[in-house]
């Protein structure tokens, strides 16, 4: 379980493996902010291998999206399963994020 980072063209893709919860949200935040500090501006968080996210995980995505946008960048989400998508819809965060069914879909236009 953890976060795997890879560069696809000029987009930084973060794979969330397992969970994004109160116990590991700081780790994701730190990794992404480090990359933002290095100059990266295009980010995708890929949830293909993610089984579970809690409200803290949702919150860290909101926080990161805001910081990335303030730097002129963009954060997109990809591969939310049905359960994860439900949580985004309930909290209306599906209106805040660009959410794609696939990584390729998220990469298009980014």
């Amino acid at each position: 379980m953890g976060f795997r980072i890879e560069k696809v063209n000029d987009v930084l893709v973060v794979d969330v493996e397992g969970q994004l919860i109160v116990g590991n949200r700081q780790e994701l935040k730190q990794k992404v902010l480090e990359e933002l500090e290095k100059g990266e501006r295009k980010f995708i968080v890929d949830f293909e291998k993610t089984g579970y996210i809690d409200s803290s995980g949702l919150g860290v995505l909101v926080s990161l999206s805001k910081k990335i946008r303030e730097q002129g960048g963009e954060l997109r989400l990809a591969n939310l399963n049905e359960d994860l998508r439900t949580l985004f819809e309930l909290t209306k965060l599906d209106t805040l994020f660009h959410i794609s069914d696939s990584r390729d879909g998220a990469l298009q236009g980014l």
């Binding site: 919860i21 116990g23 809690d54 919150g59 359960d83 309930l90 909290t91 209306k92 209106t95 805040l96």
Partner: protein, 149 residues
């Protein structure tokens, strides 16, 4: 509530997953709608535990959280109690309104209320009771009842 299961867990966020898994494994009467277990109960219970540890017990490692669970044919009831002074659950803002959508916090209790059929706080505000109604399986019919995710 007469609990079938009582857990006394440390105020440690890393113990949440194990506690939730333990409760989920002991629910054997919910087979008709596994998604309500997997999503609704799991998320609701985990949120209640996180809130108890972070806010109720103020991250104090010397404090503990009590979890009581009752399994019935018609419902699963879970009560999570912390050792804090409590809070006013009516004072929470709506995280879905535009002014709050960009805030990082404030979605835990909202999710609990959306995913569970009943959410009750005691007067002090340091104990929350969650109820997930289970679908009744009628003869020759599918399951019915309960909040949908």
């Amino acid at each position: 509530m007469a609990p079938d299961l009582i857990l006394d867990i440390p105020n440690d966020l890393s113990s949440i997953e194990e506690a939730v898994d333990f409760v989920m494994q002991r629910c054997t009467s919910c087979g008709e709608d596994p998604r309500r277990l997997r999503l609704n109960l799991r998320v609701g219970l985990a949120e209640a535990l996180a809130n108890a540890m972070l806010y109720g017990n103020a991250r104090d490692p010397s404090k503990r959280v009590k979890v009581e669970v009752a399994f019935q044919d018609s419902a699963i009831t879970a009560r999570v109690t912390d050792e804090g002074t409590g809070f006013d659950p009516l004072s929470l803002p709506d995280p879905t309104c535009p002014a709050n959508l960009l805030k990082a916090n404030g979605r835990g209790i909202f999710l609990m209320r959306k995913l569970l059929d009943e959410v009750h706080f005691n007067d002090r505000g340091n104990s929350v009771t969650l109820v997930l109604r289970l679908p009744r399986v009628l003869p020759d019919e599918g399951p019915e009842g309960g909040a949908k995710a």
